[in-house]
């Protein structure tokens, strides 16, 4: 059984029909990527999964349970964490406080400590800046913190929204290496990326989203070879 199964969801912003029947599955241990142009509905799909924008129709099954009516703040205890688009870290709080907030719903001190050490192992830079107000850090460091904060809940499924946004190419490569590591350590990942090149490099499978519907689904290697995908998303003519 798939870890996450989305069946024909429709989501709206007011009267705007943003998702028009999206279906996708994520198997345990995979990195699945959603690619598509601006406004195709990638972020909306993530917002529908994590309860911020509950779909009006359709089913979302996570770990065998329907979750489409669950409030956003309960998703984390079910095992879904997100590093949102634009990072959305708590700017006026320190790195440590941000990470503590990531473990807000947990009470097991030892476990929290362990996960914090794991985050610091993945991102040694965060340990150096532990007392720093997070809004004063660089974009790359903030991205690391956003991912670290999400990992603090020890999620089964990690939703990553545009982790490469606004970062220098060298940094993008480093962040994506770390994402691969996180996946290897056992976290399933659903990755939304504008930068289809890097996303398809680390992903197992990919979905292509266009104006609110899935138009293509294939193993990542196959998508990379697909002439249409190459033309539209990989910047080749």
């Amino acid at each position: 059984m798939a870890l996450l199964e989305i069946e024909d969801i429709h989501s709206y912003y007011g009267h705007i029909h943003a998702l028009q029947g999206v279906s996708l599955t994520v198997e345990e241990g995979e990195i699945v990527t959603l690619i598509g142009s601006n406004g195709a509905g990638k972020t909306t799909t993530l917002r529908s999964i994590n309860g911020i924008l509950p779909p009006r129709e359709g089913r979302i099954v996570f770990g065998g349970e329907e979750i489409q009516g669950t409030p956003a703040h309960d998703m984390i205890s079910r095992g879904i964490a997100q590093s949102p688009e634009g990072r959305r870290i708590f700017h006026r709080m320190t790195v440590l406080e941000n990470l503590e907030m990531g473990a807000y719903h947990r009470n097991d001190r030892a476990g929290i400590r362990e996960d914090m050490d794991r985050v610091f192992e993945l991102f040694p830079r965060l340990r150096e800046r532990i007392k720093q107000e997070s809004g004063t850090m660089s974009g790359g460091e903030q991205q690391m913190l956003a991912i670290g904060r999400a990992l603090m809940s020890r999620p089964k499924l990690l939703l990553l929204d545009e982790p490469s946004m606004g970062l220098a190419p060298v940094l993008v490569e480093r962040i994506f290496d770390i994402i691969k590591d996180i996946n290897r350590q056992g976290t399933t990942i659903l990755l939304v990326e504008q930068n289809a090149n890097v996303a398809l490099e680390i992903a197992t499978r990919g979905y292509v989203l266009e104006t609110g519907t899935i138009v293509n689904e294939a193993p990542a290697a196959q998508l990379r070879e697909d002439p249409k995908v190459r033309e539209a998303y990989l910047g080749e003519i």
Binding site: G51, S77, H91
Partner: protein, 361 residues
């Protein structure tokens, strides 16, 4: 926001904005300096009177600061000026009065606690009045948010603001129905006798009482917001509600807790105000609320330290103006200071940060 901006705002902000000076700034600085010098002259001429006046200012400031914190907490988290807050303060003083009278809704529970009661009974009475008023006001504040503000969370700002003003009128008129239009007297439970052996400087038991109650509340609140998990969740919600819900924080509950805290402080200050001044009246919340709101804005609304600094400043300025300029000038002086501060620092003295504890951009 750039790094430099943040540090600038924190440290050299005041000086720097003075230095980026125009002729208006120079005049403002000169006027302030002149006033301080005049005050200093008075202080040297009659130090005893000056210090007595300072004590009054600090004590009044403490009460104002508690109310100001309620404004600033709520503004910080949902960017709403909760105009009903001052009236909740009035409700607090009425509840305290009722508890001390020992009679509620015609049912006598115990005989009234008055100035003639024994010392032990007085202490118990005061504590009971405080606790009950804090609980009631906390509850009232939470209820107001649930009933009047929460349904409008996604409406235009103005709608919520008008609702807040409406809530203020409702509470004020409930107070009018409850205790009538005239001032009501508080029993004199805390002595007005001077603690100090000399007659020159006046520091009364009353002053000690207010400070002794306020300072722990202020420290407690500061500890709560800074160090506890719930306090950190409040700051997180203030900064980014959606991100807060993504990490598992129940945003609605956190907002309720914020209103609860504000209400508790209003209740405590309502009772202290009554005991300190010996009277209360149905529209006391309007004036006291206005001062407290001014204090919050003066200090930088959304900033907790700012509310406390603003409260003490307003208290001290008004007591000094009472003594050295004339009572009829006090309000003019206070609001002139407010206007001046806002002209030069639109976000208030410590308000380099836009929202609470100081939130998003």
């Amino acid at each position: 926001m750039a790094t430099g901006e943040v540090t600038k705002g924190r440290s050299g902000g005041l000086l720097e904005s003075a230095r980026a000076s125009s002729w208006q700034t120079r005049i403002a600085v000169a006027v302030t300096a002149l006033l301080l010098v005049l005050l200093f002259v008075q202080a040297v001429r009659d130090p005893a009177q000056f210090f007595s006046q300072l004590v009054i200012g600090v004590t009044n400031g403490a009460i104002i600061a508690l109310v100001a914190l309620g404004y600033t907490l709520v503004y910080g988290i949902i960017e709403l000026i909760n105009f009903a807050h001052g009236d909740n303060f009035m409700i607090g003083s009425f509840v305290g009065l009722t508890v001390l009278a020992g009679t509620f809704a015609g049912i006598g529970l115990f005989s009234p606690i008055t100035g003639d009661s024994g010392a032990f009974l007085k202490v118990v009475g005061v504590l009971l009045a405080l606790v009950v008023a804090m609980a009631v006001c906390g509850f009232v504040n939470v209820a107001i948010e649930r009933v009047a503000y929460k349904p409008l969370r996604n409406s235009p700002r103005l709608a919520v603001l008008i609702t807040a003003i409406g809530m203020s009128f409702i509470l004020q008129n409930l107070g009018l129905i409850w205790k009538g239009p005239a001032q009501v007297a508080f029993p004199e439970l805390v002595s007005s006798a001077n603690i100090l052996p000399t007659d020159a400087v006046v520091f009364r038991w009353k002053d000690l009482f207010v400070l002794g109650m306020t300072v722990p509340l202020l420290l407690g609140l500061s500890y709560f917001v800074r160090n506890t998990r719930q306090g950190k969740a409040m700051r997180a919600v203030a900064q980014d509600k959606e991100a807060a819900s993504m990490v598992g924080i129940n945003v609605n509950r956190t907002i309720s807790i914020t209103f609860l805290l504000g209400g508790i402080l209003a209740g405590a200050s309502g009772v202290m105000f009554g005991l300190f001044n010996g009277i209360t009246v149905f529209n006391v919340g309007f004036f006291q609320g206005l001062y407290a709101f001014t204090a919050a804005v003066l200090g930088g609304i959304g900033n907790l330290t700012g509310a406390v600094v603003g409260g003490f400043l307003i208290g001290i300025i008004s007591s000094m103006a009472d003594q050295y300029i004339g009572v009829e000038w006090t309000s003019i002086v206070i609001f002139s200071v407010l206007v001046l501060v806002l002209v030069f620092r639109p976000r208030g003295l410590l308000g380099d940060r836009s929202a609470v504890q100081g939130g998003g951009s």
